[in-house]
């Protein structure tokens, strides 16, 4: 009797929910894992091979793990891999890429941010026209502009030089970045600008003191876009940088392409890994800001 009363008074607590795998869930995970492998396997093979000596590569399967993993091939790729007669390794290309990357990223972002701010917050005659031109510029494939660009740069004497390739990267980055910044700054209330104008601040003072400090998230997005875009660029570097300033991607191609005797797969793979690392590191360090920044403008100004 008392048992019955107890049961009425305190209904049995619901059993703790067991982790249940529905078939649809299993299918979903299977698909995700297969997709991840599909994209990862080439990278794994490259990494795996770069750790093996040539003997193992010659005799074994590409999926075999290295018996005695070593970074010897990485060191060789960095310091003494040959492109033609020049055997200083891929580090030359690395430093060239850095020299191209740093000023290109800084100036393209700074100019685009100012452009975006001007287009978003200062309605002036022709601003709509400029916006339209930018939209067009953002979607024109740049192969179309290559030849005119070469002619223009050689006319002003910048063709085949470090400043030349930097200018090219800045120009090609402007349309998309300006649109990104314009959209971000459009979300900022116009009253802030009005208040600052009454406080006596001018165009640049407002930009540097008020707008730029508010732009952390969107700046990170722009930095990621530009760093990966410029680092991975091959075509522009090949055409505009000139023989002395070839970026890492171009040099990687030259190393892989110049064969004297046996093809040293491990060095080629190590050089590939070295070239791919910087954008990967940037992604790993700031990926979460990337997502946050892209959605930031949509929710709140």
């Amino acid at each position: 009797m008392s048992v019955a009363i107890d049961q009425v008074a305190a209904p049995p607590a619901p059993a703790p929910r067991r982790f249940q795998m529905k078939p649809s869930r299993i299918g979903l995970y299977a698909f995700l894992i297969i997709s991840a492998l599909f994209f990862l396997i080439p990278l794994l093979i490259v990494f795996n091979t770069s750790l093996k000596p040539m003997d193992e590569i010659r005799t074994g399967d590409i999926f075999d793990l290295p018996i005695d993993p070593s970074f010897a091939a990485w060191a060789e790729a960095w310091t003494s891999a040959c492109t033609g007669r020049n055997c200083e390794g891929i580090r030359v290309g690395f430093w060239n890429s850095v020299k191209i990357l740093v000023p290109s990223v800084i100036f393209s972002i700074l100019i685009s941010a100012i452009n975006g701010y001007a287009l978003a917050q200062w309605r002036f005659k022709g601003s709509e026209l400029i916006l339209g031109a930018l939209m067009l510029g953002a979607f024109i494939p740049y192969q179309v502009i290559l030849y005119p660009m070469v002619r223009i740069l050689s006319t002003v004497g910048l063709y085949g030089s470090l400043p030349g390739i930097i200018v090219v990267h800045i120009i090609f980055g402007l349309p998309v970045l300006t649109l990104i910044f314009r959209n971000f700054y459009s979300g900022i209330p116009i009253e802030l600008i009005k208040a600052a104008r009454i406080d006596g601040a001018g165009f640049f003072r407002i930009f540097f003191s008020i707008m730029l400090p508010m732009s952390t998230n969107i700046l990170i997005v722009a930095v990621i876009l530009q760093v990966t875009g410029i680092w991975n660029d091959y075509l522009l570097g090949l055409i505009f940088a000139g023989r002395e300033n070839l970026p890492m991607t171009v040099q990687l191609n030259n190393i892989v392409g110049s064969v004297t005797g046996e093809r040293t797969f491990n060095v080629d793979m190590a050089a590939t890994m070295l070239t791919a690392l910087p954008p990967l590191i940037v992604y790993f360090l700031s990926g979460r800001y990337f997502v946050r920044g892209i959605t930031a403008g949509a929710v709140k100004g």
Binding site: P189, E191, L192, K194, A195, A196, R197, I198, D199, G200, A201, R205, S209, I210, P213, M214
Partner: protein, 362 residues
Amino acid sequence: MSTIGIRNVNKFYGNLQVLKNVDLSIGSGEFTVLLGPSGCGKSTLLSAIAGLEEIQEGAIELAGRDVTHVEPAKRDIAMVFQSYALYPTMTVASNMSFGLRVNRTPKPEIEERVQWAARLLQIENLLDRKPSQLSGGQRQRVAIGRALVRKTPVYLFDEPLSNLDAKLRTEMRVEIKRLHQTLGATMIYVTHDQIEAMTLATHIAIMRSGVVEQFGHPEDLYQRPASLFVAGFIGSPSMNFLPGKLSPNGSGVGLELPGLGGGQQAVDVGAYPFAAPAKAGDITAGLRPEDIELVNDGPALEGKTLFVEPMGADSLAWFDVAGHRVSVRLKADDGKRVGDTARLAVPTDKVSLFDPSSENRV
């Protein structure tokens, strides 16, 4: 301290005229409220005074100086915005000092002025916080503080209290009034809230669709509204309007009203300060709810009681007078004693008369 002159200002957005021949002279040290419904052009006028909006015709003078084409920063004004517009990445202290830093005021003086304004607004303990860490009322204080530190002769307020809840709004209203008395500066204040306007203003400019309908002391606007619009806009509940007929006779001016009983066709309004000699014809009579008394005999409007709203301090009784709804403000006790019908005495000395076609006061 500074006078403000707004001279025949016209402003257009494309084909739309948003300010029509606005002409106001604002005296030094006055608190002028621009009052009107949404979209009447009051905020546009304030922006024009601030220099944030260009005007196409007319001129704006500050302290006798024509500033029509002068940059906002050089007009010697400070402004408080509806959305506060605090700089989100700066602390409260930096927000307040930004204008001074831009103008290269010496550091000790900046420090002194920020402390002075913070003390005045009781936000000394908030100086190191960011705007996102403040409540609405605190943000409003900071926004006012940012204007105060500039120590300009003219302060502009654009609906500063409309984002606050009712209790805070009352507190801040008192605060702003106190600031005006302490500083003695010229202030222009935009609002659509007639209570704010009536309590704060020394002068009210009431606007409708870009036109200033009336400019004067709050009591003048309330007692002697210049148009049907002003009469209806100011006062809560609004003025009662009844269609009537004027008939000047030898000794005075008769006013016929619907529902008039007690053996009389008309009440005499001969003492009414007519702008021009009274003409016979249709008229709209306006009666304030608190000016109407309930009487037992004599000439009065016969009303059927609709309902009585007790409001604590007083009661509001609504009557049906010949098909027109009329509200009467009564003492709380009197409100309980209202029967099914009542007789409403016409306050001939306090009535407002309007021409029904032009809607202007006669």
